[in-house]
Symmetry: C2
Subunit: 373 residues, 2 copies
Amino acid sequence: MSRFGNIGKGVEELTTPCFLVDLEKVKTNCYKMQENCNMYGLKLRAQTKTHKTVQGCILQTGGTKKGLVCSTLDEAEYYADAGFEDILYGYPLIPFHLPRVAALVKRLAEFHVMVDSHTAVESLLNTLPPKGHKWSAFLKVDCGGAREGVWWESDKGIEMAEALNKSPNIKFMGLYVHCGNSYVKNVEETRDESIDRVEDFVSRLEKRGVTCPTVGIGSTPTCRQPGPKMKKLTELHPGNYAFLDVQQNTLGSCTLEEIAGCVATRVIGHYPHRNQMLIDCGFTGLTKQGFGNMKTGYGVFKDNPNLSLCKMTQEIGTVEDLSGKLDFGKYPIGAILYILPWHSCATAAMYPVYYVLGKDERVAEEWKPTRGW
Amino acid sequence: MSRFGNIGKGVEELTTPCFLVDLEKVKTNCYKMQENCNMYGLKLRAQTKTHKTVQGCILQTGGTKKGLVCSTLDEAEYYADAGFEDILYGYPLIPFHLPRVAALVKRLAEFHVMVDSHTAVESLLNTLPPKGHKWSAFLKVDCGGAREGVWWESDKGIEMAEALNKSPNIKFMGLYVHCGNSYVKNVEETRDESIDRVEDFVSRLEKRGVTCPTVGIGSTPTCRQPGPKMKKLTELHPGNYAFLDVQQNTLGSCTLEEIAGCVATRVIGHYPHRNQMLIDCGFTGLTKQGFGNMKTGYGVFKDNPNLSLCKMTQEIGTVEDLSGKLDFGKYPIGAILYILPWHSCATAAMYPVYYVLGKDERVAEEWKPTRGW
């Protein structure tokens, strides 16, 4: 079966494993996030890393094709080629990437970078932007996520913002915060704590005469569970919300029914002497992420909560029944099962194409994600 | 930077993360495995799933382009397009795949399938092979690996072999065993136990008048640590040996120096307040496999055994020094580090291209792996 050219087919006609996207659910997830932003008068700057597709970006931007944040230059170039504007390369800038950044600054009306080091700030100060353009930079601030970003309490970040703001060749865009700690701590508390901390940073900057046109926080858990303090911000930049996954369900971001992406797999063998069956989804079809977090192993079987994906090799998954006794008659060789992934960003990245199902459960669209760096 | 067209470049010119292959090491690993087979008069049927490239297959087959086993039909079609012969689709056959199998049987002088279920056997018995051709089938036998395969003690497998052997439309190739348990048990014991068990199966078949032209075992640990009992076999079919990895090192298959594949990554930020630095290799550049098996986290840093990759998000890795005190001066922003993967099959699968370095440490070849199913 060719990878593309499957429009109109039913899942039973598709080679497995394959990644299925429920078009109506993605649309609903994108609509709800826009509603959350509207509720507090915020701009949505959609993070695209979960799907890395043009079609997904169109749905996330409500068709405007404006206002994205991505994690790789490969993505930024892919979306620029597709006519998107106002793209933030939301990744710590290093001097090595300046030539590709300059090319994007030149071809787009709005292309922004993110900095969190003196090295990055100096590379912008010491490199002339393309003629007739300015560099446009966000400062990444760490408000507890302990990933990238300048620590909110430190004055290093204040100095960087001042330096960026002072330069005639640089447009200082403001502050970018990712609440990565919302994946391990109470979501509401993390959300409000991050807002308080970035607000503190903003006021310290104002005392130095530096204003922040943009102040935003991200993470799907905090943005799927918004709160009034968000009124103090100007934008939100979640990403996973377009597909959602079992991890988001455990964090209270969604129900299992709202998850828009899943893996279709076929039963390939019965092994009654050990009460197991095998499916054609190994770690190249799902990844091994999430094991230990679900009582059903590496994923959750849609409509079959009794099944556990207890082991995975490269191309094969081992399935047991939590009761210990597998009903082989219910799962004949060739039968199709559907797995909800623990982490949709990781699982989607394993596929060269997504089959997007319409209301009739047939392939309505084929989305080709970009990959690489 | 374009993904291809980087021949002659040094690593410092390449976008990171990227997957590097040491050409001399791959050649040596392939040569040594052929030597192991020659020592016991065995045929090498190279498993290709680790690299999924034409160039890797050429090295594994010593340039003959004959004698492969792969885990996906996508691979079989890719190698057939590249002129390879005698390819085994080493995966439990299901009726859904018969049309693609028939197309391969038609275009190749030797294309084999692997069966381990009555469903698969019946699908071959009840489907006419392409005119002028026969189906060619191996029986997969489970000698303790507890993955796919008929359990060696059961008579189910005997009946399947008899049925295949009896049919005028099927060429019964013999038995295929994978010693997957060599990854969790003593390698030599597992190797010899598997050989004893498959030999028992062979003699039970002979009593029923069924001879096995081919009897082979696989797994890189058992084939990198061969033993005299292997004389009883006709072929070996390991795969990971072409690249090797940290897991193989812990199993005694190789030294860290023999590992032919690694990930190059750059330092992107310093965070002294938490004694950490970040690198541009997240789980899309390495996968999260192996965590908990290495004292250095998700991988082993070449030439920097003190560094630990303690956390990974999609595009970023967090690095600490095992001593607790990171020497930031030694790892400036932009500095390149090299990570040996726990599982090279999983890591290689994350890359759209491998940069193959020659003796001069420059890109001598660019290998494009196939992917999908």
